[in-house]
């Protein structure tokens, strides 16, 4: 199997474009083989050249990425993902690895936008190659999401990060925003890849592999804007009907979604607030410590004690910074993703209700014999199938989503608790060591001054 390296558009980075010169790719075999996970992949699929240059380039890229910020749940590179499989109880055998990195700014006369590099490594037969590298912008992700929703209206599609964040944004493209978005996009694609159904979606494949012009032309296919708009209008009208005849289990589901949505939003707000308060606490601590040093300048006998305290306060301030960054990596993105998920879920419920409503309206029509009975009966038959499919799809996906949510939330909060434990342990050690030094000194002093005192 010959690998095809797709050229990427001109970049402003100084890195050598891996494979852009048309060298043969095929790094996978040594990487996969060396970690001993060949048992997990179908060996006959792999027929790749060993290419040292690509391997090095890839490793160089990997080392340039900020690896440290990811939690174990989200490996940053295909290589680390492969290693990941060995330790996780992933029931599905992973054969699709995606990373999102290297945000780059593109300036045209009309607009400025950011593209992200997407690297895909796969062993699947339906892919023409085993490795792909493309650049996509946010709009493209939006398109993908839309297509997935269209194709699978009652599946729980992973959420995309928001288009804009209004509050507290100075400029659209500040570094924190871009980094947060990049991580979220990475998560988005990986969630799709992990989804038993969505992972085989054709548009998804195109998204991961097509060159820029191929993607544009592919996008133009499919229902036009007007017809899509028409669908939306009908959908809204129908969805109201659907609510009334919702089966019991979906009523329960809806109830859950409503409460969950409320709670997760609150948790999101609380978590953001905690982050803010910790930031302000850390700032004040940084001013607090040095005052003790200033004081020590006028107190001969208290110099050690005062300087000791100043040092402890500084160390605790640094520990707070660490706690904060832990919070922003482990907890905040997870909670926020589920906030977006809850919105997504409401949309899924609506769509399910719509499909149901379509059926119901036809059944109604039949009852009142408003139109051709035979045609209606046939249509109703189809719609009944459609409703059953939709409901089953949703039910299955719902279970899967609940299960994942539980794990994600559990993991995120456990990590947060661990961060806090470590923070307090660090501070405790600092203060205890200070106290020990003071007590030792004190014993020395008192034994010198008053040898006879009791």
């Amino acid at each position: 199997m010959e690998g095809e390296r797709l050229a990427s558009p001109a970049r402003s980075s100084g890195l050598p474009a891996g494979g852009a010169g048309g060298e043969s790719p095929g790094v996978d075999a040594p990487l996969l083989g060396s970690s001993g996970s060949s048992t997990l992949l179908q060996a006959e699929v792999l027929d790749l050249d060993e290419d040292e240059d690509d391997l090095e380039v890839f490793s160089k890229d990997a080392s340039l990425m900020d690896m440290n910020s990811f939690s174990p749940m989200m490996p940053t590179s295909p290589l680390s993902m492969i290693n990941q499989i060995k330790f996780e109880d992933e029931p599905d055998l992973k054969d699709l690895f995606i990373t999102v990195d290297e945000p780059e700014s593109h300036v045209t006369t009309i607009e400025t936008f950011i593209t992200y590099r997407i690297i895909t490594k796969t062993s699947r037969g339906e892919f023409d190659s085993s490795e792909f590298e493309v650049r996509r912008r946010y709009q493209d992700f939006l398109w993908l999401k839309g297509k997935l929703e269209e194709a699978h209206p009652t599946l729980i599609i992973p959420p995309l990060p928001e288009k804009f964040i209004v509050k507290g944004m100075v400029e659209r493209f500040n570094d924190d925003f871009i980094e947060t978005r990049r991580k979220a996009l990475h998560k988005f694609l990986n969630r799709i890849a992990d989804h038993p159904t969505l992972t085989f979606n054709e548009d998804f494949k195109v998204f991961l592999t097509a060159q820029a012009w191929e993607l544009s032309s592919h996008k133009k296919q499919g229902p036009g804007l007007l017809s899509r708009m028409g669908q939306t209008v009908r959908a809204v009208a129908l969805s109201m009907r659907g609510v009334k005849s919702r089966p019991e289990e979906f009523m329960e589901m809806n109830n859950f979604i409503e409460v969950f949505s409320q709670k997760i939003n609150l948790i999101d707000k609380i978590s953001q607030r905690i982050y803010k308060e910790e930031r302000e606490y850390s700032d004040e601590m940084r001013e607090y410590g040095p005052i003790h040093i200033l004081w020590s300048a006028s107190e001969e006998d208290l110099v050690d004690t005062l300087k000791g305290i100043a040092s402890c306060i500084d160390k605790c301030s640094k520990a707070t910074e660490k706690r904060m960054s832990g919070l922003s990596e482990a907890l905040l993105p997870v909670v926020h993703e589920y906030v977006l998920y809850s919105e997504m879920l409401m949309g899924v419920m609506k769509r399910r209700d719509q499909i149901q409503a379509e059926l119901d309206s036809k059944v109604e029509a039949l009852t009142y014999k408003k139109a051709d009975t035979d045609l209606l009966t046939e249509e109703i038959g189809k719609l009944e199938d459609k409703v059953e499919c939709a409901n089953n799809a949703l039910k299955a996906d719902w279970e899967r989503w609940r299960h994942n949510m539980q794990n994600d939330i559990k993991s995120a909060f456990t990590d947060m608790a661990e961060e806090n434990i470590q923070y307090y342990e660090q501070c405790l050690a600092t203060w205890e060591s200070f106290l020990a030094s003071q007590t030792d000194l004190h014993l020395e002093e008192t034994s010198e001054d008053k040898p006879e005192s009791h």
């Binding site: 109830n255 859950f256 409460v259 969950f260 709670k263 609150l266 948790i267 609380i270 607030r273 905690i274 308060e277 910790e278 302000e280 606490y281 004040e284 601590m285 001013e287 607090y288 005052i291 003790h292 200033l294 004081w295 006028s298 107190e299 006998d301 208290l302 004690t305 005062l306 305290i309 402890c312 605790c316 539980q406 939330i409 559990k410 909060f413 456990t414 608790a417 661990e418 806090n420 434990i421 923070y423 307090y424 342990e425 501070c427 405790l428 203060w431 205890e432 200070f434 106290l435 003071q438 009791h454």
Partner: protein, 459 residues
């Protein structure tokens, strides 16, 4: 109200009742040593109603008694003030117990109510009569360095409670001071409820007080103050400035810390509500939420302890002013001395000029003489005689002022040394207690989060 068991080592021998300012050198030493020891029990250890030992004089020269002083209660009162207007104030109950030397039992000997203004009166009196002593400061009149939780209201129960402790501390400081403890007015403050104000005012101390203007003038014009006092003044300015800064920032840190803890409390409520819809996660969420509540409420005690620490620092903030008062007195005395010396010198010169007939300096007499004619020899003799008397008097006065000045410097410096020891000891203790508080806070944090983590991992 708990009583600390009388520590035999810290009991000291009171001296017989003496007129103000007179001390027995022998006793002084013993008393001085013990004075340091008795500081240990006072606020900063976080216990309420801390009792301490103070020495007190009794009329009885034989039965050496030890006295325990405590400010045990505070009560809101209403009454009519000097302008016959209704006012609300807080009264504090001062209880004095004498401890029998032999069996250690204590008996309540006196108990009376005093309000803050009476404490102020006592202190002002001490300032006038003991200008060479670094007089212990009173707790703040109004709440300063507040952070958002603390009320700035003088009637707020937390403020009143902290003031009660501060006032007790003040009395214990005075009682443990080797010189101040012997003062009769102080004794009466503790024992004579009615009429005390009149008694104080009868001493006429307000009249003896140095005018502010005089003191300010002296500070600017004094030529040769003892260098040590100048340095001490600088030190006290620095101390005041750095402690204020520290207290201000500490208040802000406390505010932020409060915020961090309290926001976590919201998790408790939300987790609880969320647990209602969850089957498997429900229990874990619920119990984790409970721990978040525990975490959030733990900050209240933590910050209350820190407030005691802040009060300890505040005492030394206010002590800075007491140090400056001693320096001012020295400057005033020194200025007085310098003026007297100058005056004497000029009189001597006048005398000499009159005697020899040369006029080297300008004098009004000389001017008028020129204008209206010379005076007669008899007139001149008379004037020289007056001057010579004045010069004699002046020399006597100068001698005694000099002596006074040197006595003052010696005594003041002795007390300043005592103060320095006390300050170093107390501040070090306070700083260490701060570290202890932090350790306790960290331990609590570890516990709560370990529990929470367990709940989370079981979800």
């Amino acid at each position: 109200m708990e009583q600390a068991p009388p520590d035999l080592e810290r009991q000291w021998q009171p001296a017989p009742l003496e007129p103000l300012g007179h001390t027995d050198a022998g006793l002084q030493a013993a008393v001085g040593e013990e004075a340091e020891g008795s500081r240990d029990e006072v606020p900063g250890d976080g216990t309420e109603h801390a009792l301490g030992l103070g020495v007190l004089m009794t009329e009885n020269n034989f039965g050496l008694k030890k006295i325990e002083i405590s400010v045990s209660e505070a009560e809101k009162r209403t009454g009519r003030n000097a302008m016959n207007m209704q006012e609300t104030y807080t009264a504090y109950l001062i209880e004095t117990r004498s401890v029998e030397h032999t069996d250690g039992q204590s008996v309540l000997t006196d108990s009376l109510w005093r309000r803050y203004s009476e404490f102020e009166l006592l202190r002002n009196y001490l300032l006038v009569y003991y200008p060479h002593i670094v007089v212990p400061p009173l707790p703040e009149k109004r709440a300063e360095f507040v952070w958002h939780k603390l009320s700035a209201d003088n009637m707020d129960p937390d403020f009143v409670e902290r003031r009660r402790i501060g006032l007790e501390n003040f009395l214990l400081r005075v009682a443990s001071h080797p010189i101040l403890c012997r003062d009769k007015i102080f004794y009466l403050f503790l024992t004579q409820e009615g009429n005390w104000k009149e008694t104080v005012n009868e001493t006429g101390f307000q009249l003896k007080a140095d005018s502010r203007l005089k003191a300010l003038n002296a500070t600017f014009r004094v030529k040769n103050p003892d260098k040590r006092f100048t340095e001490l003044k600088h030190y006290s300015d620095e101390l005041q400035s750095v402690i204020s800064h520290l207290l201000r920032v500490r208040a802000r840190v406390a505010d932020r810390l409060y915020g961090v803890y309290k926001v976590h409390g919201n998790y408790g409520r939300v987790f609880s509500e969320w647990s209602a819809i969850e089957k498997e996660m429900g229990d874990g969420l619920q119990s984790a939420g409970h721990h978040m509540d525990v975490y959030a409420s733990s900050i209240d005690d933590i910050l209350e302890d820190e407030e005691h620490y802040a009060d300890q620092l505040k005492e030394y903030l206010f002590y800075a002013e007491a140090l400056r008062a001693v320096c001012r007195k020295h400057e005033l005395m020194q200025y007085d001395l310098e003026m007297a010396a100058q005056d004497l010198a000029s009189k001597k010169q006048q005398c000499e000029e009159l005697a020899t007939g040369t006029v080297r300096t300008f004098s009004l007499k000389g001017m008028t003489t020129k204008l209206f004619g010379q005076e007669t020899p008899e007139q001149r003799e008379a004037r020289i005689k007056v001057l010579e008397e004045q010069i004699n008097e002046g020399e006597q006065q100068l001698k005694s002022k000099n002596l006074e000045g040197r006595e003052f410097v010696k005594n003041a410096w002795a007390d300043i040394e005592r103060f320095k020891e006390q300050k170093n000891h107390d501040l070090k203790e306070a700083l260490i207690s701060y570290a202890v508080m932090q350790i306790s806070m960290c331990k609590k944090g570890i516990q709560v989060w370990t529990n929470a983590k367990e709940c989370f991992s079981k979800m």
